[in-house]
């Protein structure tokens, strides 16, 4: 990163088009890394990089959804019976909590774009509180799942007819929501860093890439839950 006040030199002299478009004589922004022509190009690269990572995440979770789909097609009755053991209202509340956290995240990015520092800090804190609330409720669900002997393994208990296949459902339930929860915890850590950057004043309407791409990650984790919720909690509820 070039220090504040450094003047661009060299590279652009061979390119007259850039000379006009790029305000060669302008002082470079402190947050502009040397490999980029301007902040807009840097922001574009950051967004693209984050999306490339998110595509790998889609496939990471996608495999688990494929496994879920297969076993559910093979053992529909066991999956229905096992799904009924989950606490629907806790799952529903958690869905609402996570969607609300996505709203506060989107508003945090908006505040960063418009340079409203107070709002940016407030919405980041709200996003973290909602994220922590989600994990708290999830933790309570895990606890009750453990107490009700739904954890696959030697202590697992279920009606004899579906004993084996219900364990497959609960294995997938714990692995998929567990992996999602790990992503939430990482998200909270990322938000803590964003809070610090915003507090320090690094974030401005000219340079808010960190908030923007952290937001992309946060929303992605929300999307994973948007699929997990109906697939795990809502199977054959009418039965």
């Amino acid at each position: 990163m070039s220090p504040d006040g450094a003047i661009t030199a060299g590279a652009h002299d061979i390119d007259p088009v850039h000379r006009v478009a790029d305000d060669l004589d302008e002082v470079r922004h402190g947050a502009l890394a040397h490999q980029f022509d301007n902040l807009e190009q840097q922001r574009e690269a950051a967004t693209l990089g984050m999306w490339a990572f998110l595509v790998t995440e889609v496939l990471f979770f996608g495999v688990l959804f494929a496994v879920y789909g297969l076993y559910r097609m093979w053992y529909p009755e066991a999956f229905t019976a096992a799904s009924h053991e989950l606490h629907l209202w806790l799952g529903t509340v958690n869905t609402a909590v996570l969607i609300t956290s996505s709203l506060t995240m989107a508003l945090a990015v908006h505040a960063a774009q418009t340079g409203e520092r107070r709002q940016l800090l407030t919405f980041l804190v709200l996003t973290m509180i909602l994220g922590a609330a989600f994990l708290g409720i999830k933790g309570y669900e895990y606890y009750s799942g453990f107490v009700e002997n739904h954890l696959p393994g030697p202590r697992f208990q279920f009606e004899a007819e579906h004993f084996q296949h219900a364990q497959i459902f609960f294995s997938l339930y714990f692995i998929m929501t567990g992996l999602h929860a790990v992503h939430m915890i990482i998200g909270l850590a990322v938000m803590a860093v964003m809070l610090w950057l915003s507090w320090r004043g690094t974030i401005s309407p000219e340079y808010y890439n960190p908030i923007e791409i952290s937001g992309l990650y946060w929303h992605f984790v929300d999307i994973v839950w948007i699929f997990l919720f109906p697939l795990l909690y809502l199977i054959g509820r009418h039965a």
């Binding site: 902040l39 807009e40 922001r43 574009e44 967004t47 693209l48 999306w51 490339a52 998110l54 595509v55 889609v58 496939l59 996608g62 495999v63 959804f65 494929a66 789909g69 297969l70 097609m73 629907l88 529903t92 869905t95 609402a96 969607i99 609300t100 996505s102 709203l103 995240m105 989107a106 508003l107 908006h110 774009q113 418009t114 309407p205 000219e206 923007e212 937001g215 992309l216 929303h219 992605f220 929300d222 999307i223 948007i226 699929f227 919720f229 109906p230 697939l231 809502l234 199977i235 054959g236 509820r237 009418h238 039965a239």
Partner: protein
């Protein structure tokens, strides 16, 4: 800078639609639609995810290169699911000996 700063009401509107869809998906789970329960649940989930991607994640206002990367994600996920399922689900069709 030429980035798109969306008015806040866009976010509030999307949020309201997402919450309403969540309510709807829970309600529909209690109605017996046979196989279409799963179809409906997935359709609502895809609808919600699309809204999040387009508006919360600003893809609607992003460059075509970003669009290409996002769509490639959907495409590869499609390959993963379709090829896996076309293998496993057609295995019972073949019964040798």
């Amino acid at each position: 800078m030429s980035e798109h700063v969306l008015p806040k009401r866009v976010y509030y509107t999307i949020f309201a639609v997402l919450m309403l869809s969540t309510y709807l998906t829970v309600q529909m789970a209690f109605i017996d639609l046979g196989r279409f329960n799963t179809v409906a649940a997935l359709a609502i989930a895809i609808f919600k995810a699309t809204l999040v991607v387009l508006f919360f994640m600003h893809v609607k206002y992003s460059s075509r290169l970003t669009w290409a990367v996002v769509l490639s994600g959907v495409f590869w996920l499609g390959i993963l699911l379709v090829l896996t399922m076309s293998d496993y689900l057609t295995r019972p069709w073949l019964t040798f000996g």
